[in-house]
Amino acid sequence: MPPVLVFARLTVQESSRRRLLLALVILTLLVVGFSAWGFQKITTVTRSDGTLLPHDQVSLITSQLLIVITFMYSGVLALSAAVVAGPLVSAEVESGLLLSMLARPVRRSEVVIGKWLGLAVLVFIYAAGSAALELTAVNWATGYEPPHPIELVLYVAAEGLALLSLGLVLSTRLSGITGGVIALVAWLMAWIAGVVGDIGTGLQNSALQNVGTISHLLLPTDGLWRGAVYAMEPDVILTALRAAGTAGRANPFSAVDPPPTAFLAWVVVWFALMLTLSVWSFRTREI
């Protein structure tokens, strides 16, 4: 097996043996269970005349609630990615774990890319697995399905991957705690900056709008989150948001349009830049 895949396998193996995966699976099952119960309750809500809510209305409420639940999932994924990626390289340098391995015929780029690859696989498995479970539960409870489930998984996973990539860059130079904290703060700041951008759109203030745009370029997590939101919005919501004009765009839990192609292209470039920076930073680090 080439070294890059050996390091990817080791990363997955470590997460599994340290029971990180088990913890995430148990927590996810708990959330899915509770949310299924909660969604099911929507179908039992009655109006003042004692009749049940019509299916369209149940779907509408479910779609909005699903966006909030998904925000939690994306948060769990982003936080986990930052916490795991922060010490990914630095902890092994500090402990000496990497020393004997780096004395083997192994390129440092193989270490960095292998670790990224291993965590990327875990991020995708978590995003796809938790989405499959949650959407199945929601469908069972209310009969609702979001319009673009595949895109939803891809956007949520890409958000986690972005935090993982940022954490990895930091991990090549900073201690695990420092790198993890910086990645988390950056993620929150990017989200808040996205909200500021929304307010700018609502107020038609270009300076505030630029804050949102620039933050999406520096750390595309919020931009990707909006993609996930768009993938969950039924047509009726989109129509209402568009009818509301700029005010409809001033909400971090709504998206009127899918992320532009130029932004998605930038995300690909951004990932390549982060990986290149990680490799360069680790290659030039003295151990």
Binding site: Q13, G96, L99, M101, P105, E286
Partner: protein, 304 residues
């Protein structure tokens, strides 16, 4: 360089960290199949040298070759084993899996892994713990595991950085036997250590490094050709001890004074001087210099 190239050859290898000189102009040659002891006090530049040779650090200037190839050459690392001073292995793997990982990275053909792993575990005495998680190992056992990892693939050159720091006397004895075994099969061993008796017992050749500079090097016989004299004495004050510095480097251990390099012909003169200074001599014991005598003498000369 050809196959007969020395195991290690360095020319003016220098490493600076900012304004601190960690290693200054290291020039040395370690022949194939020899056990080479690299000695020095803490912070002398020993580990820096090993890391430079392994490509973990980049030299500020100078050149070096391992097994005839320039340092940093990826292919050469297939033929090298390394036990770091700061040894740590994946606690969530078992011992066999750690060694399999090193076989994979070495890389060795999968068909010989089982045999290599079994042999390495047997050599370091960990066969019975092969399937236990490394996290359950004591520090000494982890160091043994590190040694086993350095041995897989029958390397031509092995770097051992303080290989017995976590071991008990039995473990130290075992490691000496392993090192002798390596040399017997033609493997060169670069032994970094500040445990002088350990080095004295196994090394063919040593270099003493201090403040980033090699202050002496040669075979054991060349280095330890002098005589040391241990005197049991009382009644000497500090000014008297200062005057005795004329007899060469002095290791003052209270009642016992060791003149780490003193010609045997000067012993009567030394005794009469001590008596003249008011000292009472109970015992005079000349002996061949030990590595510790020589080491202290070299550091003493270095300070002056």
């Amino acid at each position: 360089m050809a196959a007969a190239a020395p195991a290690i050859h360095t020319v003016d290898l220098t490493k600076r960290f900012g304004g601190t000189v960690a290693l200054s102009g290291l020039s040395m040659t370690v022949p194939r199949g020899e056990i080479f002891g690299f000695l020095g006090p803490n912070g002398a530049g020993k580990t820096t040298s090993v890391k430079l040779l392994l490509g973990l650090l980049k030299p500020t200037s100078g050149e070096a070759w391992l097994l005839g190839e320039p340092i940093g050459d990826l292919g050469t690392r297939r033929r090298i084993g390394y036990l770091p001073e700061l040894f740590r292995y994946q606690g969530w793997l078992d011992a066999r899996e750690v060694l399999a990982l090193h076989c994979e990275l070495a890389p060795l053909p999968r068909s010989i892994w089982k045999e290599e792993i079994a042999a390495a575990l047997d050599t370091v005495g960990l066969s019975e713990r092969a399937d236990d998680r490394v996290s359950t190992f004591s520090k000494g056992m982890q160091q043994r595991l590190g040694l086993a990892a350095a041995l897989v693939g029958k390397p031509e050159l092995v770097f051992l950085d303080e290989p017995t720091s976590a071991l008990d006397p039995v473990g130290r004895h075992d490691v000496r036997e392993i090192i002798r075994g390596l040399a017997a099969r033609g493997t060169a061993v670069f032994l970094n250590s500040h445990l002088l008796s350990e080095v004295e017992q196994v090394c063919d050749r040593v270099a003493v490094v201090d403040h980033g500079r090699v202050i002496a090097s040669g075979t054991m016989d060349e280095l330890l050709s002098g005589t040391a004299v241990k005197v049991r004495v009382s009644g000497l004050d500090d000014s008297a001890l200062t005057k005795l510095a004329a007899f060469g480097p002095l290791d003052d251990e209270g009642e016992h004074l060791t003149f780490t390099k003193l010609d045997i012909e000067r012993v009567p003169e030394l005794v009469s001087t001590i008596v003249a200074l008011g000292g009472r001599v109970y015992e005079v014991a000349p002996r061949h210099q030990t590595l510790e005598d020589r080491f202290l003498q070299l550091l003493h000369e270095e300070e002056r």
